[in-house]
């Protein structure tokens, strides 16, 4: 465990010593801030309309703002997660520092966990940025905090799963661009797999839809903590890290 933390600290350092972390934070903050501002604008517009028409239209902050925003968040993930994970192994393989890690008295799995944990923590910082926006909702309105928390948990789990996949892909190549591009492609595909369920009910479509990371976020967005969906993400995390370990092993046999 100590080794995991040593590796994790080192990774976090290199995120935060270079401009990488700050640029990601700023861009993420800007994009999410824009989404928030838009959702808020639409909410205010709708509520004025409903007042003017005389009908009292039950409007709820969770329904109108938090849920769509959490859904947007998962889409923004697709762009940011490859940027976080692409360097994890690819850079070390290119500069040769992987040889230092691999010849130190540390297990492969400790290296992998440390790196993934650092990516997760950086992502947690991004999420914290979005929480600033929601804080305004609590200041001026009274949304229910429980569904928001569950929603955050879902987004966090989803990100953890995609980060594990990104970590795996980064371990396959020396080239950061390739790692980033492939991770983006895979994440996007996993995201849109669910679309087939809209017109097809055959077994393969249901399997494809089940594999989609987007299918499992729906319950969280509604504020429902469904253990099935949580287990799905945890499984993906486990598999991603497991394959990373296999990939590191094969690096030793091949290189």
């Amino acid at each position: 465990m100590r080794n995991v933390w040593i590796i994790c600290q080192k990774e976090l350092r290199s995120y935060f010593v270079s401009p990488v972390a700050y640029i990601l934070l700023i861009m993420f903050g800007l994009i999410f801030g824009y989404f928030f501002w838009n959702a808020l604008g639409a909410f205010v517009f709708e509520s004025i309309q409903s007042q003017m028409s005389g009908r009292s239209f039950p409007m709820n902050l969770n329904e109108w703002i938090i849920r769509p925003l959490l859904s947007n968040l998962t889409v923004v993930n697709l762009f940011f997660i490859p940027l976080i994970t692409m360097r994890l192994f690819a850079e070390e393989k290119r500069t040769g520092t992987i040889e230092l890690l691999a010849t130190s008295p540390v297990r492969d799995i400790e290296i992998i966990l440390g790196k993934w944990l650092a990516a997760v923590l950086l992502y947690a910082c991004l999420l914290l940025f979005t929480a600033v926006n929601f804080a305004f909702l609590f200041k001026y309105g009274n949304p229910d905090w429980k569904p928001l928390l569950v929603g955050y948990l879902g987004v966090f789990l989803l990100a953890g799963a995609l980060l594990a996949i990104g970590t795996f892909i980064s371990s396959l190549t020396k080239n950061q661009i390739i790692a980033g591009a492939v991770t983006f492609g895979v994440c996007l595909l996993l995201y849109v797999f669910g679309w087939v369920s809209g017109y097809e009910t055959a077994a393969w479509a249901r399997v494809l839809s089940y594999l989609s990371v987007a299918t499992h976020i729906e319950s969280f967005e509604k504020g429902v903590l469904d253990s099935k969906d949580a287990i799905f993400y945890v499984t993906v995390i486990f598999l991603g890290l497991f394959f990373t370990a296999r990939s590191m092993e094969s690096l030793r046999w091949r290189s």
Binding site: N3, I6, I7, K10, R13, S14, V17, S18, T95, G96, T97, I98, E99, L100, L101, A102, T103, S104, P105, V106, R107, R252, W253, R254, S255
Partner: protein
Amino acid sequence: MIKVTQLTKRYARTTAVDQISFEVAKGQIVGFLGPNGAGKTTTMRMLTCFLPPTSGTATVAGFDVLEQPLEVKRRIGYLPETPPIYPEMSTSEYLQFVGKLKGLSGADLAKRVDYACARCAVADVKSKLLGKLSKGYRQRVGLAQAIIHNPDVLILDEPTAGLDPKQINETRDLIKDLAGEHTIILSTHILPEVEQTCEQVVIINKGKLVATDSVRNLQARARGAESVLVEVAGRTGSFEPSMVMQKLERVAGVSRVLCKQQVDTRAVFEVESSKGSFVRGDVARAIVESGWDLNELRPAAMSLEEVFLQLTGTEAVSQPETPVEVQA
């Protein structure tokens, strides 16, 4: 300290290392010699548990590289060909990170970082970013990294590659200095380096072991007999090298005379004598008595370079698969 038995590494199509066996005793400094692509790095990577061997075994301090890699890694300090540094870290941060990775902590860690910095002469760049350091400093930081946890064995892959002559000398001195406390294996394709720094040499070529012996024995072995270079000048205008050769060949104990070069009335001869006979005095007397000038007479010691070329080059092909037998 290190024992390598029939170590082999095969890739899909090529055999990088082919049944290499050698031993290194504690405290020794061993030069791992071979042309580029001979399998030096692959062998070192197997010793450091970075690559698993296809067959054969290697043990470091009694631990097998396949069975107990963590124990082996704890006892090894490794400097790969390019120092494995993180450009965004400062020297002290980097050494602390590596130290922690090797299991040091607390006051012990701080002490070892200071020690390694002082030892490798990088204390003056402790707070500088590694990415901004010169090649020589990076190499020394790489060395500091390797000795940080006071390992029994140091494995250095071409530690002087890419340095300027002054830095090369400094690095060599540093390595020689470290030899007392650590068992060192260093790879190189620069021969004088081995002659200057190592006691023992392991020569490999195309993945195969060619020779393993002490540097001195190897030099002696390469030339069975003694040979001397003699520069002779004629006093009068007429100077016939062939006459000198005839004269020299008649000296007792001389087995062969070669005329290496001739300029005007001077010529250089290589005089080979059969093993054991000491002919220099007789040669000198023969020349002077014949009325020629003896300008120079020196032993033609064979440099390791010649030995190396002889062992790995064309001559090795004419007598293949006959590694020089090991003498402890």
